[in-house]
């Protein structure tokens, strides 16, 4: 009967969904780069390395980055913001992207210009760096160059990295209350050297009260805030303006 299929009475959304699923979002017209982007969305690091190597035989590294890796990562960010993806997926994809980047840069013979540098570290005496691992992955995914100092980093090493790299932002992670005392020391040294860099501190024991009690300190409630904060710093927001926005 005609009525059943008349528009307005019924829509077979399942058929639409099926159709939509069979066709992954088109990010590149080149089949190989499209495949690369799809593999990145699935976070397959080894496959990415193979595909990038394959692509580099015929393509320019910058093209592989601009038309494969970056659009793929953008898809991952979109899926995360829509709630379809969670941090573990984002981190896998971010790691895969960095592996692909490394191959491209090797072929290029130089590193690719990123948005800006961010120095990250886990406090001296602390080894609990899950927060920092998340921050690194999200910043990489958002196109920043992460100067990853790792865990158990002495105050002077952090300060020296800031002096050397002149980052737009520096982050510190601490789980233990005994180790977070390094943060105000770092802030004080940065001040002495007139390096007015926003210093985002977060992690298990670190409270908003504590971080906002010293200059440059901005409290990071969740690791997932890091890219947004870095964008603010990139736009030229100072530590006071950033604290006003993200804290309190």
């Amino acid at each position: 009967m005609a009525a059943a299929s008349a528009p307005g009475i019924l829509t077979r959304f399942d058929l639409r969904i099926e159709a939509a699923r069979q066709q992954a979002r088109q990010v590149s017209v080149d089949p190989l780069l499209q495949k690369l982007a799809e593999s990145l969305v699935l976070g397959r690091e080894e496959e990415i390395q193979e595909l990038v190597a394959q692509a580099l035989r015929t393509k320019d590294p910058m093209q592989v980055i601009a038309q494969g890796l970056l659009p793929g990562m953008k898809e991952v960010s979109r899926l995360w913001s829509e709630g379809a993806y969670f941090l573990p997926q984002v981190i896998l994809s971010s790691d895969a992207m960095m592996a692909g980047f490394a191959l491209c840069e090797k072929k290029l013979g130089r590193s690719v210009e990123k948005k800006a540098k961010v120095v990250t570290h886990t406090a001296e005496g602390d080894i609990h760096d899950i927060g920092q691992v998340i921050v690194n992955a999200l910043l990489n995914a958002a196109g920043f160059e992460v100067v990853n100092l790792g865990a158990d980093v002495p105050v002077e090493t952090v300060v020296e990295a800031c002096r050397l790299h002149q980052p737009i932002m520096v982050t510190g992670t601490a789980l233990m209350t005994t180790t977070m005392t390094a943060f105000p020391k770092i802030a004080a040294r940065l001040k002495e050297l007139n390096l007015r860099i926003p210093f985002v501190c977060g992690g298990g024991a670190v409270s908003e009260d504590y971080v906002t009690s010293f200059d440059f300190g901005i409290w990071g409630k969740e690791a997932s805030q890091a890219p947004g904060m870095a964008e603010d710093a990139l736009r030229g927001l100072g530590w006071e303006a950033m604290r006003d926005k993200w804290n309190g």
Partner: protein, 455 residues
């Protein structure tokens, strides 16, 4: 203001569900009154959720999400969501705005993800309590208008259930005083709506939003609710029916000010309004039993364009949460009507809806399309004033009720009706005289401020 003097429809035969002479199209892409009936779901937040903006947003997000997902799950192609503001959402206009913008985002997501056609109606709460504040100059009046400004950028449609005349109506209803009710609804309510709706239409137009319509819910539905069913004895069913006819005169004012419909779901007077104006209307019946009982559960669908559930509080049921369950039911009601349209059987289907309620009670009878059209005709033929057309509507309604012997009455109902009609016939012929009479009679009623109505 020039009052309507013509009928949009030449006869009730031309009126059918899903189709209006003046369809409207929302920014979300719904064509209302364009040939298909569309379900209109109204979820209501649980008490306690209005504690903070955060919990309220969460409540609406959840309710909307459940309803939209259910539409996709069972294949309902179109849906309109309506939120009737709780007090806090209008009292703090930014709350209403946050809910509206969140809802707009949700609908956008479902449009993009599934191609579900969906729109949003924000119904501002009339926080002006006429017995407490001045309807035109108080802070509460300002809040109402600010809320329209705040929601119109996000909502597809804005509406209100205005309260003009409510203070005197309540006083009159408990005394079964039809003169007072007529004065409250037609004269006071009409004047308040004229003041209010000119501004709503202007605000909506500025933001590209549709000025939907109003309802005499606060008065006519109060009477209908108190008249109840066959077991209630507080207010005669016949009085509630006369009150409904009067309400049409009042609700009409919104469209005379420039509103385009769709009318509000709880305006049971909407079939009369549609007959007069040709604007699309929302109605409710059996699927609104979650909110209140009625004696017109099917007939209300006879000429509807949106089909609503009035309001259902958010709860879990075996079949899912209430928004999901009710949107599923509304959608199936609507699918049957639309299938009737597709098969060319809409008049037969409409006849079934009408026949099942025509003699259930005065309300069902007077809201059948033929009665509704006849009452509308009385309104447009007597367009000298709010008063004259409302009185004519009530007299016509009474005449119709007495004219069909198949509509049966208890002795009490019959005697009451006769008494009301005598009362109406004895009233002055002009609005000026009627106002003088009423100001003398009700001027001292506690909480009644003639200045609120420019009197």
């Amino acid at each position: 203001m020039k009052l309507t003097g013509t009928m949009a429809y030449r006869s009730s035969e031309e009126m059918v569900f899903g189709k209006a002479l003046k369809p409207v199209e929302t920014r979300g892409g719904l064509r209302i009154g364009g040939g298909m009936v569309i379900p209109e779901l109204v979820p209501h937040p649980r008490p306690g959720s209005e504690m903070s903006l955060k919990t309220l947003l969460r409540e609406f997000e959840r309710a909307n999400q459940d309803a939209l997902e259910r539409c996709v799950a069972v294949g309902h192609p179109q849906v309109e969501l309506e939120n009737e503001h709780v007090f806090q959402m209008t009292h703090n206009p930014s709350w209403g705005m946050e809910v509206a913008s969140q809802t707009a985002r949700q609908l956008q997501e479902f449009r993009e993800k599934y191609g579900l056609q969906a729109s949003y109606r924000a119904t501002i709460a009339d926080v002006r309590r006429p017995e407490m504040v001045d309807l035109r100059t108080s802070d509460r009046a300002r809040e109402v208008l600010e809320s329209f400004e705040a929601c119109a950028p996000f909502a597809d449609i804005v509406s209100i259930e205005s309260l003009g005349g409510k203070e005197l109506f309540d006083h009159s209803l408990i005394r079964n005083d039809l003169t007072g009710m007529l004065f409250a609804q037609a004269v006071l309510g009409g004047r308040d709506m004229e003041w209010l709706w000119r501004q709503i239409v202007r605000i909506a137009g500025k933001h590209g939003c549709i000025a939907g319509g109003d309802t005499d819910c606060s008065q006519a539905n109060t009477a209908m609710f108190m008249a109840g069913g066959y077991l209630s004895k507080d207010v005669p069913q016949t009085l509630a029916a006369l009150c409904r006819a009067i309400a049409a005169s009042r609700t009409l004012v919104a469209y005379e000010c420039g509103a385009t419909g769709p009318g509000k779901d709880c305006a049971y007077e909407n079939p009369i309004v549609k007959a007069i104006t040709g604007v699309p209307i929302s109605t409710e019946g059996k699927t609104a039993a979650c909110a209140h009982m009625s004696l017109c559960g099917n007939v209300m669908a006879a000429v509807c364009d949106l089909w609503s559930n009035e309001a259902v509080e958010y709860h879990r049921m075996f079949g899912g949460t209430t928004p999901a369950v009710f949107v599923e039911m509304l959608g199936y009601d609507v699918a049957a009507m639309n299938a009737a349209v597709a098969l060319g059987s809409q008049k037969q289907y409409q006849a079934c809806l009408i026949a099942s309620d025509r003699y259930r009670g005065p309300h069902g009878f007077m809201l059948c399309p033929d009665s509704a059209w006849a009452i509308g005709k009385a309104i447009t033929d007597n367009n000298g004033s709010f008063y004259s057309r409302a009185r004519a509507a009530a007299l016509k309604c009474g005449e119709l009720l007495q004219s069909d012997p198949k509509l049966e009455f208890t002795a009490f109902e019959r005697q009451s009706l006769q008494g009301y009609l005598l009362e109406l016939e004895g009233l002055p012929s002009t609005e000026e005289d009627f106002i003088d009479l009423c100001l003398g009679k009700y001027g001292k009623v506690k909480g009644f401020r003639p200045a609120s109505y420019g009197l």
